[in-house]
Amino acid sequence: MASEPQLEAVKGAKVLMVGAGGIGCELLKTLALSGFQDIHIIDMDTIEVSNLNRQFLFRQCHVGQSKAKVARDAVLRFRPHINITPYHANVKDPEFNVDFFKQFNVVLNGLDNLDARRHVNRLCLAAEVPLVESGTTGFLGQVTVHVKGKTECYECQPKPIPKTYPICTITSTPSKFVHCIVWAKDLLFAKLFGDKNQDNDLNVHSGDADNASRHMEDVFDRSVDEDLEKYGQKIYDHVFGYNIEIALTNEETWRNRRKPTPIYIKDVLPDNLSGQNGNLENCTTEESAVSAMSSLGFKNSQDVWSLAESSKIFLEALRLFFEKRHKDIGNLTFDKDDQLAVEFVTAAANIRASSFGIPLHSLFEAKGIAGNIVHAVATTNAIIAGLIVIEAIKVLKDDYKNYRMTYCLEHPTRKMLLMPVVPFEANKSCYVCSETPLLLEINTHSSKLRDFIEKIVKNKLGMSSPLIMHGSTLIYEVGDDLEEDVAANYSLNLDKVLAELPTPVTSGTILTIEDLQQEFSCNINIKHREDFDEENEPDGMVLSGWTMASTEKDNRIMSNGESTSTALEMQGNTDDIEITAGEPIGLGGIKRKHSETSERLEEASLTHTGSSSANQAPPEDVDDNEEEDDLVLLDNDPEIGKKKRLK
């Protein structure tokens, strides 16, 4: 490995690492050991206790400090003479523009979210710097290489969409525990403790919706002198009892479903009505440490509470919020590190689950679901970091014939736990790295520019500082240095419907959308359409030619965890993993590719005789005079192989 030309390539290289987390710590260490001498590293995060089991460059005493800076100092301890430049910043900050990216020979991603991955992909394309992308979840991982003109870009393939659920499943017909969690967190918790002005679908749609929602307002407002205990019981009876009764009146809903049982506090805790507070002496006075579990004497977060226990914790947590954290009420959002919030959400979700006959879960499990907590182990990160360095060295030597994307598997496929695959060629209709226009169906008479920017430009195209042009006329742009009158004009435009803009956007219009920071632009063909299906096309507009997978199309409540949650259900590989986010994914393609891979591998092993491997040059160093078994071949059709694969 450390042959002379290689050592030169490594020594002279200037590399950018994005992310100093699970993969990042391992990567920085392996880069330093491998002889890299000029490493820049960007990470906006600070160190948390739950990082310490795998982010081995960090210690307890570093909690709260910048990951990028502490990682640098830790690596300089064993490689004191190399240059490591840390940036405690967001990679999306404007200082990291195309010129910044151009100074590097290769960019290595160890990121935890799709958004940042897409941003870096675009900057790498614009700066023409090769990108090595990675991700892990539990024992699974993936490393891919993206080099403009040679391989596909990160966005050429569909990415799993954030896992969301139809609103009616959450409000009326939950069938899985996660539905109860989303209800407890995004509806009930938000209603009780969050911003009062936000829309909230907590009320059940019955035949008499108006009545229900009026009743609602009355219930949730607590008058100044209302007894807290009475208030808690009233909320309990309303959301777990009354609301379910209302829902039951809608017989159509339950024709083919198991009916839920209304739950009232007097049935669950008949003795509790006299009032039984937790033991507050056990509680510390520190706000962050307020806990219903400790005040009631529950210890193990792995235990599953009974309905009665959940009900006690529900009431106690509610009481503690009003008594101990009154000033937070009205501006709380769910945070997985807020113990009391997790207790409340776990208890509420379990009570709702009881009502709907769904199995109950422990606080530990509920916290994982509600917080989209990543499954992470040090070993997978170490393996993936090693593979990133191996690919980075190939990139630096311009050894593109040997570029591989590698899957790290939990269960062997054809004896392999590390499965290298030849990278795909760029997707000719990728809206990011090719110039193919997108098509947007939209009602140009009723959709405002603001909706278009939020739903399409930001959410779907992932642009953060967009500029929108109609021909040569600027309709909208984001920037700090705009003239006052220009800015005023843009904000006027925001509330206009498309057809009534100064330069009207109508069927047949082509809009050009640019992100100056990402140096990325694309065209959108506009097509007017009158009606959209509320459940299936909730945005009121449909973008096509866009590669985000749309496996589920219904109206959704986006579970607003700390990062974009994504379902990653890799067939046959994981039954433990249901909801993941962060570190692992953005792995984006792994779902599609991996499932496709296993399918195709199966096909291949059935029909593939080895002869079609002639299309694939085996890696040079492998001295192999038998019929190959050294290269994984995904396509059993040689023609497909030729088209899709790098040659």
């Binding site: 490995m1 392996t30 050991l33 907590i373 070993t379 170490a382 393996i383 590698t406 004896k415 192999d624």
Partner: protein, 319 residues
């Protein structure tokens, strides 16, 4: 559930990995004792992984003085040379590892692993050896097998751009989880000696060529009484001759042992490639965690990684 519950501190620290392998597995890990002899690049990576995972204790054995040579793929030492003069590699690594996780007890035992009797190994649940002669590996493996208690044995070697892991879990039962149905499985492992005595002709046709090339180099080092990696391109003629003899004796076509691969292994010498150490140290960590926790399908019984093709392959060399 065996034993006490995890403390709140443990639950907080190990939160993310408990979500991968469960609280029971974490409890079993925290009661496990591991011996590592030979602090090569792979074993250093392994030590980091297993200390982070939260085993009960880790015992290190490596009396070598600290030189630049032994530190090429090592990140477990202090910045100032003055801090490591006169101390063994084991002692230095021990200090750094303690720092990684205060809940794991890390210590050093002086001496040569080959000199210890069977009783010594009884204290451990898993033993990992690296950088010692084939005879030492074989002897330690046999001592582990002779104890009444089951001791998992692992031997690892990195030869620059490729490497090998050998696993002997004796009779290992574990819970296999298939589409949510847990089933108890039993695997029987051969010892290192039994495995490599299996006639080459009887092996599956697609066994990786690295398996054969490693055996040739191993045999060569054994015959010349050298430690792993004490070889160079000067040995090529002798190694080719030996390779030919072995193939003839085993009636295996010589094409199974590629000259280019032997050349790579010889040229590697004692050099270890850090990314390869990271990959193999990662897999070794996972396998030891599986062996200790009884959770997850363990690999049987050889694992290979080679940067030339990028594959990580399991080979089952048993009867």
């Amino acid at each position: 559930m065996d034993g006490e519950e995890l403390t709140a501190q443990e639950t907080a620290l190990y939160d993310r990995q408990i979500r991968v392998w469960g609280a029971d597995a974490q409890r079993r890990l925290s009661k496990s004792h591991i011996l590592v002899s030979g602090l090569s690049g792979i074993s250093v990576e392994f030590c980091k992984n297993i200390v982070l995972a939260g085993v009960g204790s880790l015992t290190l054995m490596d009396d070598r003085p600290v030189t630049d040579d032994v530190l090429q793929a090592n990140f477990l030492f202090p910045p100032l040379e003055s801090e490591y003069v006169g101390r063994s590699l084991g002692e230095l690594c021990c200090e750094s590892l303690k720092d990684f996780n205060p809940m794991v007890c890390v210590s050093v035992v002086k001496g040569d692993v080959a000199q210890f009797d069977g009783e010594f190994f009884d204290k451990f649940d898993a033993v990992v050896v690296s950088g010692c002669s084939f005879n030492t590996k074989k002897a330690v493996n046999e001592k582990c097998r002779k104890q009444s208690k089951r001791i998992a044995f692992f031997a690892v070697e990195c030869r620059d751009s490729c490497g090998e892991i050998f696993v002997d879990l004796q009779n290992h039962s574990y819970m296999q989880k298939n589409s949510n149905v847990a089933a108890e499985c039993l695997l029987s492992y051969p010892s290192l000696e039994e495995a490599i005595m299996i006639p080459w002709k009887g092996l599956p046709r697609r066994v990786t060529k690295l398996y054969f090339a490693m055996r040739v180099i191993e045999k060569f080092e054994l015959l010349k009484e050298r430690n792993p990696g004490e070889i160079s391109m000067f040995d090529l003629p002798d190694v080719l001759k030996l390779s030919k003899e072995l193939c003839e004796a085993q009636s295996l076509s010589e094409s199974h042992i590629s000259v280019a691969l032997l050349e790579r292994l010889l040229a590697a010498g004692r050099r270890e490639c850090p990314p390869v150490c990271a990959v193999l140290g990662g897999f070794l960590g996972q396998e030891v965690i599986k062996a200790l926790s009884g959770k997850g399908d363990p690999l049987k019984n050889f694992f290979y990684f080679d940067t030339a093709d990028g594959k990580g392959v399991i080979e089952d060399i048993s009867n």
